[in-house]
Subunit: 345 residues, 2 copies
């Protein structure tokens, strides 16, 4: 579930997001210049590796959230502080991806070879460590300890999510509580921090920073739930891979958890027993049974409720420049639903 | 060379260091209580792993340096700040050991199974990440960003040392510059930070903090050079393993570098060619040839010069409480030489 397959949602979302990328394009360009400038500060032996990771690493969603939460109009947005903050959060995100790919023994991400595959797992350990420690160095350049504290805490939480997920494999924890705990830690945490610190560093009040954090958290959860839907309800041609990949990797996404709640205990126990025994044909049974229940609709309901919580969180601050932009982002995430095949809906 | 075989020096040094451990015993006990209390703050799934690492992790040399550099007399030394600082530096140190053991595919450390061996490399990636991020969280609890900045920087440098070392393997860089660069990064850096921040956090002046940092740096280099001597000149019974293990791991320690400078170019090229081709009998030739030159004496000279630089650095501050303690530590490190067999001397 989480970070692992975000790339799938990314692919589906790509063109749909052009509208939100446009206003922060100058910011994202400066961010890339800044990230590239940091490579030169690393040990010569590792620069090529880090450059590779920067060049094959998705769409800078988290820095984009930094830019929007600290939004002060098109001209004023690329302050050095916001660029540094976005870079810090992106570095932490990339570090966790590089290490996650070692754990998952993943060969590709964003249709490119992972660092673990290209340079070997040992190098990937070091690349992740360098990205982490460089992020914290940059965080310590802010005048107060707040950025450092929040970023270190978020890093610890993202790790915690990976730990929870790694150690449940084989044992299968299919409670919704566990599902929410993992996506909160692995995905929503950095979305939340990007928004809360973006607002803070741009000089907005603590009250708005907190609201922006809540916006980021719920947007992150919604984003992850959309990712779950893509894995099970998209058309294969659209995402360039077979459906149900999350389950093959042992990840019980929200639609699957709902299915397990709906079938009779005997069927549930049978499905889980076959899953545990490594019977791969169980994936087809799961996906077939999904369509016997109104699960898609229920998951969409949860997805929309999260988006509503996101927009509600910042609604009281509608006089502030970032809010209309943030509402737009939430709207675009909601609009992604229409990109799923009508059959699912 | 560096961290990898510090445990060997630790073993030899163990009893000789009792004298410096005694005064800071209450501090080290509080440190262990603090570290154990931190375990409960981590994700339940990883607590057992972290407890294992804490329980099999050497002698808390770096926290000891924190306590001595911030020394204010026996009663006043276990302040919460110094305990937290010592814990932060120990956590970073342990994180790097856990990750290094993945890279080195090491099975044992301090005669115990490494985390990578006991829990598998994937778990070891996560354990290291958790230790790193928890260290930085604690660092951000200090009132200013200084501890965070210095610790993040030191973490980046320790990684850089591991990178430099990892990537030279196979290529064999046998310059002294490269040797010093690696031990500066991998060993001396955390010794320096322990001393500089220990003095700072205890309220001593910037000037003394800087001097204490220089003390730590040179002490760290000396400590590493002593470790090099142990690997080649100790008696096998004393260290419980074969001599020349560093070279077997591809690590050119100072005595070996000096040997390569002293033999004729033809012999040097032959030794290196055989080393590169994986001819393991070359280790015996290296160790045999060592005794044909006064290399032991020369290395001892370098070792003593580093200790002199360490004590000189803090000498101008002799009125401060920490200094006589720090000089004592340097004296005890020097005294370790007498523990090597007379044959070597």
């Amino acid at each position: 579930m989480p970070t692992r397959s975000q790339s799938e949602a990314d692919k589906v979302a790509a063109s749909g997001f052009a509208e939100v990328y446009e206003p922060v394009k100058p910011y994202l360009e400066e961010l890339d210049v800044f990230l590239q400038s940091q490579v030169a500060l690393l040990e010569p032996e590792i620069q090529e590796h880090v450059r590779y990771v920067f060049g094959h690493s998705g769409k800078r969603l988290r820095p984009m959230l930094v830019a929007y939460s600290g939004w002060q109009g098109p001209a004023a947005n690329s302050t050095a502080e916001l660029v540094r903050l976005g870079s810090i959060i992106e570095l932490v995100h990339l570090a966790t991806l590089v290490h996650d790919d070692i754990l998952d023994e993943a060969d590709t991400r964003h249709r490119q070879e992972t660092a673990a595959k290209k340079f070997g797992p040992a190098a990937a350990v070091l690349i992740g460590d360098v990205l982490f420690s460089h992020a914290l160095k940059l965080a310590a350049e802010f005048p107060t300890t707040e950025v450092c504290r929040v970023v270190a805490q978020a890093t610890a939480r993202v790790c915690a999510g990976e730990i929870a997920q790694t150690y449940q494999r084989g044992e299968v924890n299919y409670s919704r509580d566990f599902y929410y705990r993992v996506i909160q830690l692995k995905t929503a945490e950095l979305f939340e921090v990007a928004c809360a610190l973006g607002a803070k560093v741009a000089g907005y009040s603590d009250a708005f920073s907190e609201a922006a954090g809540a916006f980021g958290r719920h947007l992150g959860i919604a984003y992850q739930i959309f990712d779950d839907l893509v894995d099970l309800y998209a058309e294969e041609s659209m995402i360039g891979k077979t459906l149900g990949t999350d389950l093959e990797k042992g990840k019980f996404t929200l639609p699957l958890l709902l299915l397990l709640e709906k079938v009779e205990p005997a069927e549930r126990d049978d499905l889980l027993a076959r899953f545990r025994s490594g019977d791969t044909s169980v994936v087809d049974d799961f996906t077939r049974r999904l369509h016997d229940f109104p699960i898609f609709e229920e998951v969409v309901g949860v997805f929309e409720a999260e988006l509503a919580k996101a927009t509600d969180a910042v609604a009281p601050f509608s006089e502030l420049a970032p809010v209309s932009e943030m509402q737009k982002i939430a709207g675009l995430v909601r609009a992604q639903l229409s990109r799923l095949p009508a059959a699912a809906q």
